[in-house]
Symmetry: C2
């Protein structure tokens, strides 16, 4: 590779016989230059392939055209979808995104916040995770937007989320409408508000339809085993215990899939004997057999709403008070796993 050194504004200025100020104006199209000089400068830029040194620009302007994105696990289809949409949005607006994978590690999250701060990001987006955002390590006054994460109150923190309560309600209602009377829930046992809200929706639906709430049908898995394997095992346990049930609401699709596999292993037919519904509508839900009914979150909507909010905040747009918080609706996706038996 030929060592084509990058050219600076100063050098362009010399080559074009103008001052650096003029070159800067041309580059940023800030007016106050003649068409003639514009052309002269532009020719040299094209010829030498000038690219802005963003470090210098950032230093000077205290803006970096960069945002930080905190995500628990990119290695999770639901999160990676979201990340993809956010990244796409900001790419179009000429921003770069630092994707920071915390693996749910609080120390790592704090370290990332420090790093983002020191790299002068113009704003931060947080997906999911705990309430506490380590705002105290941020030394600058930058906006923070959360998705599916209800932050403790701070001036500069905003949030956008799906209506998880409604999702829990709708999921349960779907099972009820298809004839289930004894509905189990398989969720993750943590104070993560998202799961709590889904559980609340489930309970309210039971109440509204006059069904009994069986505590022994509320399976709250440890964070470490709240995955496919864990819920498959838990479901096997439940089946062994002989406690009767005819419907399962799993609070994400992988857990739901674990449930379905466990049922299948025990020769319990879905949807005939037991109906199942999941949450998130990731690819496993429509590709498994029988296909899995689920609650679809508006991924694109969430990503766009959150991104545009952050962008506006970074550009000091006035944000109405009622825009500090957004809750997007979710919808039931009916598939085979909640199909009603023919009468």
């Amino acid at each position: 590779m030929d060592k084509k050194r990058s050219i600076s504004i100063k050098e362009i200025a010399k080559l074009a016989n103008v001052s650096v100020a003029t070159v800067s104006r041309v580059i940023n199209n800030n007016g106050r230059f003649s068409e003639e000089t514009r052309k002269k400068v532009q020719d040299i830029i094209d010829k030498y392939g000038y690219t802005t040194n963003m470090a210098a620009k950032s230093l000077r302007m205290s803006k970096s055209k960069t945002v930080g994105l905190i995500v628990p696990n990119i290695d999770n289809e639901w999160f990676s979808h979201l990340v993809l949409e956010i990244e796409k949005y900001f790419f179009e607006k000429n921003y770069s995104v630092f994707i920071c994978n915390t693996s749910q590690d609080e120390q790592k999250e704090i370290a990332y916040f420090k790093s983002l701060d020191s790299k002068l990001v113009d704003g931060i987006m947080c997906i999911s995770g705990i309430e506490e955002i380590p705002t105290d390590v941020i030394t600058r006054n930058i906006p923070i937007v959360c998705i599916d994460r209800k932050p403790k109150d701070h001036n500069n923190v905003y949030y956008v989320e799906s209506n998880h309560y409604s999702g829990g309600y709708l999921a349960t209602e779907e099972l009820i409408k298809k004839g289930c009377k004894k509905i189990a829930i398989v969720s993750r046992n943590k104070t993560l508000s998202v799961n709590k809200q889904r559980l609340e929706g489930y309970r309210q639906a039971l109440k509204d339809y006059g069904l009994t709430e069986y505590k022994e049908l509320q399976i709250l898995l440890d964070p470490s085993s709240a995955n496919y394997e864990g819920s498959r095992e838990a479901m096997n346990q439940l089946i062994k215990s002989k406690i009767p049930f005819d419907g399962v609401f799993a609070t994400n699709d992988w857990r739901a899939y674990g449930v379905m596999v466990a049922l299948s292993e025990n020769h319990i037919n879905v949807p005939h004997d037991v109906k199942v519904i999941g949450f998130d509508d990731i690819s496993i839900s429509h590709s498994c057999h029988p296909s899995l009914s689920t609650i679809r979150q508006d991924t694109v909507g969430l990503a766009q709403k959150a991104s545009s909010l952050l962008l506006n905040l970074m550009n000091d747009k006035e944000i109405q008070m009622e825009e500090r918080r957004f809750i997007l609706p979710v919808e039931v996706i009916q598939r085979d796993s909640t199909q009603k038996d023919p009468e």
Copy 2:
């Protein structure tokens, strides 16, 4: 949030009654200061919560402690695993990673290279994608490491990959050993070297075992339909066509899963009537039913090898010529989909 303005070295110097040079030395632990001044300076740093302004540092040093990561689709478990490992590696070394999702769009890739260049990244990692790397838009002399992407020759470009040829061979051999005679392949029709190599391995295995190569059993899907849906449809086509076959090698797990679903829809039993093997060992392969045999790539090995190589290059370590290219072995994971019938 209180507007805690970030403090600069200059201010620290004033507060500690020392020069900026001394403060800088303390911060970077560059020696030539007394324990006494170290303490004095450190106290102020702790008290005011100083954080380095990385834009300034980058500008001064022409190094940013940042790497760019080009990836086709983060929204793909195999890639996201890889990204996760790479990110983890660099986080530990105090580097930040710009994850750039190209969606296989060449223009986007070029735009990203420009942006990374202008943000002074110290190195670039490319996952998969086409041979051509737009090195010409890079104005600085930074190293580039590729994973699963055989780049056109350049001085500063290195690569690490799995042995895809061997993978194709082993997959086919596994089917042959379990008794298959007429083996179909479902792959992606593109000049992507990865798929080409897997196909070559398949052909060589057939040859070595004296099996006929049926052109009509080589299903090369369009890039746009080389996914779960596409291969499910293609397999349905093949079944309808009545061309006999007793084994299928699908060049990734989602395609393999599509094949299995199509077979199941046509009441063809796996592994009794037809055996199936995939590639990548993503979660669907061990959680589907019957579980899917597959070829496992050494994700962690790939990520670490590539990352440490890039790190060494960024720090101007001498790299031996034979280290410019790495090929990691793959292994067969035997599961139910290639189980032999009891005699």
